[in-house]
Symmetry: C2
Subunit: 512 residues, 2 copies
């Protein structure tokens, strides 16, 4: 039976089966032979998600002395959830959308202009590689939000993916791990798998110690999506000097290392810790400000103003977080849990990363507070009422809906008997929640709504005039603003109306 | 019976009694009359601690168009613990020492060159003031470290001090609160006290509403002690427009507001929250890194390297804290507790500031970990052994020993039967712990010690050569380095020796 994979743009692609396999491998080999003949190295990217697909395009687009040093192959699995990215990339398009004009430019240049990037589903691609970059997911499964201590981490899909590489890779190739992994994974998980594969293939690991390195990306989908790869500091570490040298050379070829120098750490475990520590730090700072958000609301002050006044202290306080709606995405919602898993399972520690874990719980439950404000604004009566949620993605100006806090709000509204509608200018599907239909017609979503929630600060929402909302929305409606979209400056002059505005982190109900 | 007050330099001053009172008042009045005649405004500073004494000197030293706009009077209580500051200031000296050459310069200029600052103990000084600046303490009493939830806050000494002002102040004077207070204090504590005093004095508070404002200082004793008043951003907020205008004018006269503009918040409660939030944020970030410090040690990586590699992310991660020894001083050890007190007692909230309170506990107990490393390095045998603690103050290059974590370490060593010696190049007395004698002879303290702890990173310790330590210390000694004073670069070349070096946040024992 034919299998299909459907893109977010609702295009249906047939998933190839084993009958297509041989042809695909031959086609790949011929292509790589040709590219090698013109002195290109072959880079294979494993995983075409937000990171891998953009890495593939940036590397394929890079030039050294006006020449492309690499031919790039992106690999993903032939599953309904992932296959669609392969034909999309081969057609010259980015699988993901963001408010960054460079995204389409880089994909167009890499694929259509330079003809330097293809995508495939066959693991034999790894055999062709001089450099393999691992950008696959390593997932955490949460059984219940707010109970991160019960979450499950199953390494086996990741281990199988590494096995795919180990079975196929050239023993002289560099294996560069970009996936966020539990600290210690390079030494205690990945290296043993590759060595086992080499042994089974009869490769002498004394003569050919696998060249393995870790360099975590700091990709931030959004307005700086492309720049976050090419123009951002990078830390790396390798298991051998040879792997370290090769990693340095490779990273320097597509990162502007004059302006953003590389940073080498002495141990791969240190580099792995750095990544999860960075994100645990951000997550904890978000959770920290939440308790002050509730305090500010109860005592009647605007915490956005307060935080702004503190952030002028550059270097010590300028990264203080603002009040908000919740935390989504792939990193901040789980990286502390990877560290904790590692602590317990790879290093047999009893101590827990207390603040880091509690932060995950606080952040996961945070959207409930916006729901509580909504209920307060509606006088505890939500049954049958239309509620407009503005924003399905978790982050400004990007289409990424993974672990979006809007999902939690949606569920709260449904559970209480309300009728949610959700709009997003970028996202078209809600990750893992096909039941939540995202609408692209903002005015339709707002029209006659009894409640409206600003759940993310997309530029389109900031640009939306209060008068426009007033015209569309139900005249007794309440608005809950979790992102200071309706700043005091913006709505201060509107005093004649009767729409309640409740702000997360603001102490008073305003009327516009 | 005569009472005395002894300075940290061990000079004994006789405390004046009521028989001196009348003369002091007359002297003050005459002086103020003279100063007013040459168009100076009178500024009275209440409290001559780290903040008040430096504020007094900076304001007395400031000039507008080459003229001194203010004559300044510093007021403190005639108690044995505080009186010594008054004769010291009147002799032209700073009561506090720091590695900042500007400190002595400012005091000398204000007092000896310009003859523009005097100090006194009589509350009648407030009567003379055009502007009163409150810089007294508002203390938290901890019954036990690690149990911040049981700490006690007694507002009454603060309330009595405000009453002293209210009974004496000119109703047209500006009352500027710089003390860190529980948020809401201006509205719910200070304003009612002043109004009550005015009522009792027959002053019509409708005609003469008291002019009260809040502007918290960001004074950091240390190499930038003076600059932290003159060249630092300031936030303020006032209870009336008139008080706001007067505060703005006053602050602008001694702060470089062109380069460091003032920031006004709409509510005094917001300004009060800003101060405690700033410090709670720092305290929480310190506590956060502690759990990663323990993780790093257990898995064998150097967390200083990791944090350095992350801090390159300017604006988002550059204020990440390093591993450390503990937290001391007057602000970070208590400000979250003021917020919690306010939350419960002024606003009747049940919710707690969870991360902020837990951070206080984690930080208070942190020095125990350094003690544990010391015990590990000594093979659990400390009885009768000399232990050198390098650093009595809680902060680099300053003499402030308030709540110093070195006190906790000292007690741990004593309790285990060790013999602690403590050195500091700045501090001469340990705040509230007269039993702890601080030695100024570094080599005497190190000589033949079986253990040595770098408890703060004074420049003198950074400049100390490892070879010098090796020559002095017991040959089987262990060194515990809580501040990366002995960086890998510094001791890397010394491999021939047998001194154990254990680093907080570092995974391996090194030998020098």
């Amino acid at each position: 039976m034919k299998q299909f994979s459907i893109s977010p743009q609702n295009i249906k692609y047939e998933i190839p089966d084993d009958s297509n396999r041989h042809d695909e491998i031959i086609k790949l080999q011929r292509r790589c032979d040709n590219e090698r003949r013109i002195n290109k190295k072959i880079v294979v990217i494993q995983g075409l998600g937000f990171v891998g697909s953009m890495m593939a395009a940036v590397i394929a687009d890079c030039e050294i002395n006006t020449k492309s040093p690499y031919f790039v192959i992106g690999v993903d699995l032939p599953l309904s959830s992932s296959f669609w990215k392969i034909p999309l990339i081969n057609a010259g398009q980015s699988p993901f959308q963001a408010r960054d004009a460079n995204v389409n430019e880089v994909f167009n240049s890499a694929i259509k202009v330079k003809n330097n990037l293809i995508a495939t589903w066959v693991p034999e691609a790894y055999h062709e590689a001089d450099i393999i970059v691992v950008d696959i997911n390593l997932d955490v499964t949460k059984t219940e939000l707010g109970k991160s201590e019960e979450s499950q981490i199953d390494l086996s899909p990741f281990e199988r993916a590494i096995e795919d590489v180990g079975k196929n890779m050239n023993p002289d190739a560099l294996l560069l791990i970009e996936t966020t992994v539990p600290p210690g994974s390079l030494e205690f998980v990945i290296k043993p798998i590759i060595e086992k594969c080499f042994n089974l293939r009869g490769i002498d690991i004394i003569d050919h110690p696998p060249l393995i390195a870790h360099s975590y990306e700091r990709v931030t989908p959004g307005a700086e999506y492309v720049q976050s790869i090419k123009g951002m500091r990078r830390t790396y570490s390798a298991l051998s000097q040879e792997a370290s040298n090769r990693t340095k050379e490779f990273l320097s070829s597509f990162i502007n290392t004059t302006k953003y120098p590389l940073w080498e750490l002495q141990k791969t475990t240190a580099s792995e810790v750095a990544k999860v520590l960075e994100n645990s730090y951000r997550a904890t700072n978000i959770a920290f400000i939440y308790e002050w958000t509730l305090f500010a609301e109860d005592i009647g002050i605007n915490l956005f103003d307060v935080v702004n006044s503190i952030k002028v202290r550059k270097g010590t306080h300028d990264n203080m977080m603002f009040p908000g709606f919740g935390v989504g995405g792939y990193c901040l919602t789980k990286d502390s849990l990877l560290a904790q898993w590692s602590s317990k399972n790879l290093f047999n520690r009893k101590e827990t990363l207390g603040f880091s874990l509690e932060a995950i719980n606080v952040n996961d439950l945070m959207p409930h507070h916006t729901f509580d404000l909504l209920m307060k604004g509606l006088g505890n009566s939500i049954k049958g009422k239309k509620i407009a949620i503005l924003g399905a993605s978790y982050r400004k100006d990007v289409d990424d809906t993974r672990n979006s806090p809007s999902i939690t709000l949606w569920d709260d509204i449904i559970k209480a008997g309300g009728v949610p509608f959700i709009h997003d200018p970028f996202a078209t599907v809600m990750d893992r929640r096909e039941d939540i239909k995202i609408d692209s017609d903002l005015y339709f979503v707002i029209n006659n709504a009894a409640g409206l929630v600003f759940a993310v600060n997309h530029q389109e929402y900031i640009d939306l005039s209060a008068n426009r909302i007033i015209k569309l929305i139900d005249k007794n409606a309440c608005i809950v603003d979790a992102f200071d979209v309706l700043t005091d400056d913006k709505i201060g002059y509107l005093k004649q109306n009767y729409l309640k505005v409740l702000g997360v982190g603001k102490g008073h109900i305003k009327y516009i």
